[in-house]
Amino acid sequence: MRFAHGAAGDGGSPVTLRGSYGLFIGGSFVSGSSVFKTISPATEEVLAEVTHGTTEDVDRAVAAARGAYERVWSVMPGRERARYLVRIARLLRERAAELAVIESLDTGRPIRQTRDVDLPLAVAHFFYHAGWADKLAYAGFGPAAGPPPRPLGVVGQVIGWNSPLLMLAWKIAPALACGNTVVLKPAETTPLTALAFGEICAEAGLPPGVVNIVTGDGLAGQLVAGHPGVDKVAFTGSPEVGREIAKSAALWGKRLTLELGGTAANIVCADADIEAAARGIVEGVFIRQGHACAASSRVFVQQPVRDELVAAIRTRMAALRSGHPLDEATDIGAVNSRGQLERITELTRAAQADGAVRWSAPPWPEQDTLPDRGFWFPPTLFAGVTPEHRIAGEELCWPVLTVSSFATPEEVAERTSGTRYGLSAGVWTRQGALSEWLAARLRAGVIWLNSFGLLDPAVPFGGYQESGLGREGGRHGLEDYLDLTGGTYDG
């Protein structure tokens, strides 16, 4: 199927998707026993047919990864691995415009986000980690004079639907740099850029089996995460599934990295630059909807500036434009799937029923209603939210903002540390001492002071406690793909 770039256009050729994709195993695409359809959440049209990975397929993928690990990848000098990673990074960059279009079609996220944020970051992750591949001995995990630390083996990776290619890069780049081989299962609703990545691996001449892509539903994910031939599992998704994977990994003695999201806080103090805070919150929550999944949507504002902040946010929200993901002017795209839309609808109804005050931005440019087809939800703000509201605690992964107020910094530090989750948090204040004080008090893995939603391959990302395990990115992220136990480096 062909799709014009449309308003996203760089004048390049339209994107062509194959009608049907097999599984990428052992360096080439192989057909499976059954297929499912992946659709555009903006129009509900079918984008392509994709293969359901079965037990046998996962066995084959793990065997291919094991063979490649033992024969090629774990014994290859780091500088050669680096060369492959650089090649992958360059090919990603060459195909960036096309991949951004595919990502927007499949996820529903605006082209401005996928093209200007996801793709450059994904490319940067491969370049960054290419540089580590031949420097692991200097990463500070053991004596630099000794041999480099050992890889773990075959890594099973299961990723989510909000920023699929970027998450793939977060997981595959460090795994390969450290000498592991990979079986990756993309989300059921967003498999296309992972399959395109399989093509890139083949084009880069990556040794067969080093990267394997198995598509399918949650069952395929369980098969990958639970496979006895997998030495390490890396998962991005819901806390419920994450806990099950953690139990299974504990039973099998597997290493584990989890990114489970988990609603954190965005704290606006009375002395903050309110316009900057409103801009940061609206951009962080609404425009960068996919990235800071659930991390950003709870706003705590100090009482004296509550009304001022809410007004500033509403002004900015009213200017947001919902629309087709490939339209250059679109700020808010489509909800990723019907299931997600139902969940958002249910949670927002419950919040209204519980007495929270709802305000939604105009749903569609120059119209009062949303389109008939596709999955849409207008940018929405809830005021008067208390900790008892379900919407205050549950992961939304969609731009719905809740606002509650606080009196003192001590109170907000106490209230926001009550949760067992802590992925990220934001603090808005002009006082350096107060921002550092709050940053030190908040129990979260990433804290943005007077900014929100920033990511970089050199920066460790990951949550506290039930928001996750391990870090992705930076020097810390390497550790989760290396065997450091016992302090021996004699691999």
Binding site: A124, G140, G242, R243, A246, K247, A249, A250, L251, L258, L260, R420, S435, A439, A440, R443, A444, G445, V446, I447, W448, L449, N450, S451, L454, D456, A458, V459, P460, F461, G462, Y464, Q465, E466, G468, L469, R471, G474, R475, H476, L484, T485, G486, G487
Partner: protein, 304 residues
């Protein structure tokens, strides 16, 4: 130590702290919870025998209720201990080493009776435990620099990554090394700012309580370390499943129990510390300390 001593939620040391570590067997060794030495809530005790089979003393048989009390005490101590300057935590831990050193002969005598080893071997282990504790005391104000990073990013932002303690750590003391093993699993948890609930090994409960007396005598803030004696299979599942416990070190759990505890701990995504069997006399490395640390990254914009 002024900061710690002034912290209202952290009375330094129990009012009835013993002035010296007792070596002579006494009728019943108690638990160490929140800086006090209570009996088990059930009032139950168990007999402890030496390596030669001789009766040494009775110890408190802790159960779930005592484990819960210990977690509450550890949780209450966490804000003060974790926010104290690394230097001050180090000072508190160095003081413990001083008390251990003063009572070196008494620890060695206890170790001989409990483990049935020679005097030389006992002194060697006590000295090794002392050195180990001192080593970790020094890490209290250094781990941040070794573990932290300043991250170069594309864009006008500064970012810093720092380690933070995870919270309350349950620590199961290993059965194969009475004092050195205990110190080697407890010290890495608390040096970085966690508070701990230590489950003594079933073989050497008296040494664990003697060690607790050294902690109390050194006026370690109440609740930073809490010691339970009793049956590992009874106590450890409480701790592994407890929502307020953030990490668990399985050093003392035999394989099948450790598997069960790791699965139970996964229910609340505790940080599970589980390393291959250790030679406790070897250089410990940093992995054990890293295992009870979270990683926090802070971003801030740069500009005029």
């Amino acid at each position: 130590m002024a900061d710690l001593a002034d912290a209202p939620e952290l009375p330094v040391g129990p009012p009835r702290a013993p002035s010296r570590v007792r070596a002579a067997p006494r009728t019943t060794y108690r638990l160490y919870i929140g800086g006090a030495f209570p009996r088990a809530a059930s009032g139950r005790t168990f007999e402890v025998h030496g390596a030669d089979g001789a009766f040494l003393a009775s110890a408190a048989l802790a159960a779930g209720r005592d484990a819960r009390d210990a977690v509450v005490a550890a949780r209450a101590a966490f804000p003060g201990w974790s926010r104290a300057a690394g230097y001050d935590r180090g000072q508190a831990l160095y003081r413990v080493a001083e008390v251990m050193e003063e009572h070196r002969a008494l620890f060695a005598a206890q170790l001989r009776r409990a483990a049935g080893c020679s005097a030389d071997a006992a002194y060697t282990e006590v000295d090794a435990a002392l050195d180990r504790w001192t080593w970790y005391a020094g890490w209290a104000d250094k781990i941040t620099q070794v573990r932290g990073t300043v991250n170069p990013v594309a864009g006008s932002f500064g970012t810093v990554t720092l380690p933070e303690p995870v919270g309350v750590a349950a620590v199961l003391a290993p059965p194969d090394s009475a004092l050195l093993g205990l110190v080697s699993v407890l010290a890495p948890a608390i040096a970085s700012g966690n508070t701990a609930v230590l489950v003594a090994s079933e073989r050497y409960p008296l040494l664990a309580v003697a060690f607790a007396e050294a902690l109390a005598a050194a006026r370690l803030p109440a609740g930073v370390v809490n010691v339970l004696t009793g049956e590992l299979a009874e106590l450890s599942p409480w701790l592994a499943a407890h929502q307020e416990v953030n990490a668990i070190d399985l050093a003392g759990a035999p394989g099948p129990l450790a598997d069960d505890l790791a699965v139970a701990a996964a229910g609340s995504l505790k940080r599970v510390v589980r390393f291959p069997a250790a030679d406790w006399s070897a250089e410990p490395g940093l992995e054990r300390m890293f295992a009870t640390l979270e990683t926090k990254t802070t971003w801030h914009p740069l500009g005029t």
